[in-house]
């Protein structure tokens, strides 16, 4: 698990946000703000991660009066290990790309997509 290319840049961003406070439960809106992802992108990612046992989800025990209960997310132990590995590999790959582009004669064309997040 956690091999290079296994996770999309968006998924890596979600893993990075979740591993920032690995033991704490986090809300969907907070994750969206941190990753910059829209709800239509964020939630399918959370669903796939939960299906693979990397993320666990639960409903808030005591809701705020007048508001519905919120769904909470955090990494499982397995998810934390996978996230750490995947993020380290992504950082390494980004460093390799940066070194290639700064080398004389290298193609300076930039790649599209979300930048790999920094491991906290």
């Amino acid at each position: 698990m956690g091999s290079r290319g296994e996770f999309s840049p968006q998924t890596l961003a979600v893993l990075a946000a979740l591993s920032g406070q690995a033991s704490a439960w986090q809300h969907g809106y907070a994750l969206a703000r941190e990753t910059g992802l829209k709800s239509g992108t964020l939630y399918p990612i959370l669903i796939r991660l939960a299906d693979r046992g990397l993320v666990e989800a639960c409903w808030q025990d005591e809701p705020v009066p007048g508001r519905p209960r919120r769904h909470l997310y955090r990494l499982t132990a397995n998810g934390l290990a996978s996230a750490t590995t995947a993020l380290a590999e992504a950082e390494l790959a980004a460093a390799e790309r940066a070194a290639t582009t700064t080398r004389p004669g290298a193609n300076p064309r930039r790649r599209r997509g979300v930048a790999a997040p920094v491991v906290p």
Binding site: H27, A32, K38, G40, R70, H71
Partner: protein
């Protein structure tokens, strides 16, 4: 809360029901989280993401595709079965009633079944449903063609003579019209049989009836084999006039023996296999009941599918025979029939399609009895707990 917000909330709650139960929490989560998003465009964009999630997780593209395909097939069948304006009013009303009520049954019963017993939850269940619907839609125009042919009074000549002979109890109909009024009792009975078939197939393929996908697959295959052999035996509604080498229409043929064997053994074998694959741990009493249920369902589906298959093929062949010289040539190849003889055979075959109604009633009864016997047989052969024989797989949980 403003009224647009109320409407959006109500629509959201309704849309959540489109998402499978296992994914509903996630769709609800997006909706609940929208309360934390600043009002205005950000909240609207958040909810739009929720709608996308519902569409994706609810497999809306597939559902809409299936719905459009079903509507197109139903529309084509209704168009083909709809009576022409030249048909006398009483017959036209009966045929129109047939079409409308059949389509209403096909559209309404799934909603009722979904509410009472849940949706289909396996590929086998969906295929059996689709096959049943396709068969009923195919029967509709074919039946309309045969109904109109058998009731149309020839203008005169030998055809009129043949018609009068075959309808000697029908009074003196006017040439060039449609004879008598519609057989309302018969029409209502056929609609009742159609409703029973649709309801039973929908119920047996619903989640809460707990018929295993393997049971459905085994029994549908057995039913298809039975239907094909029965069609070869009775290609024209029991009329023994076909001479095609593949469709003898003969009562003294090895194929007939095979048809009888299949009629009794297909549901028996399907019931036995379905029961054999059913394993309920710990409780022998519960296990016996579960096996009997699988056998019952297998027998019913097997012979129900068989009856539908032979009916579709038989009525369609009869209808095509009335419309196409090529099909007549195929059925009676090598024979040089006069026009009057051809008309007589067409008339005979059209009148004999009622035979399929009998098949549709009798076959499932034979099937459920044979299926139960088959499951009982499998139960007696089952290894007792503690023996060395390997356990069999559980077909489906919950």
């Amino acid at each position: 809360m403003s009224w647009p917000s109320r409407i959006a909330t109500a629509a959201g709650r309704g849309a959540l029901r489109l998402v499978p139960a296992g994914r509903r929490d996630w769709a609800e989560a997006v909706w609940a989280e929208a309360h934390e998003v600043p009002t205005g465009w950000p909240r609207l964009a958040w909810r739009a993401g929720g709608v996308l999630l519902i569409a994706k997780e609810g497999q809306m593209a597939r559902r809409i595709g299936v719905l459009l395909l079903g509507a197109a097939a139903a529309g084509a069948a209704a168009w083909a079965a709809w009576p022409e304006s030249s048909v006398r009013l009483s017959h036209g009303a009966a045929d129109q009633g047939d079409v409308i009520i059949t389509l209403a049954l096909l559209a309404g019963l799934p909603l009722l079944t979904r509410w009472a017993l849940g949706p289909p939850d396996s590929r086998a269940a969906r295929w059996v449903r689709a096959g049943c619907y396709a068969a009923i839609l195919a029967i509709m125009p074919a039946k309309a063609v045969t109904d109109m042919f058998v009731g149309a009074v020839p203008q005169g000549g030998l055809d009129r003579h043949t018609y009068d002979l075959s309808n000697s109890n029908g009074g003196l109909p006017v040439p060039g019209t449609v004879s008598g009024g519609p057989d309302w009792g018969g029409e209502i009975f056929i609609l009742f049989i159609t409703a029973c078939y649709v309801a039973v197939i929908l119920a047996l393929t619903a989640r809460r009836t707990k018929v295993a996908p393997a049971t459905l697959a085994i029994s549908a295959c057995a039913g298809l084999a039975l239907g094909l052999v029965m069609f070869a035996v009775d290609p024209l509604g029991g009329a023994k006039t076909a001479t095609n080498p593949w469709l003898h229409g003969s009562a003294t043929d090895p194929l007939v023996a095979l048809a009888w064997v299949l009629l009794l053994s297909a549901p028996f074998v399907a019931g036995a296999l379905a029961a054999k694959r059913c394993h309920v741990p710990d409780d022998p009493c519960q296990a016996s009941v579960a096996r009997a249920w699988q056998g019952f369902a297998a027998g019913l589906v097997s012979n129900g599918v068989g009856a539908l298959t032979v009916t579709v093929l038989g009525i369609s062949t009869t209808a095509l025979m009335l419309k196409s010289a090529w099909v007549r040539g195929w059925l009676y190849h090598g024979q040089h029939l006069t026009a009057s003889a051809v008309y007589g055979r067409e008339l005979y075959a059209s009148g004999n399609v009622a035979f399929y109604v009998v098949i549709c009633v009798i076959f499932p009864i034979i099937g459920l009895i044979a299926g139960l016997v088959g499951s009982g047989f499998a139960n007696t052969l089952r290894p007792q707990p503690g023996s060395d024989a390997g356990e069999l797989t559980v077909p489906r949980s919950g």
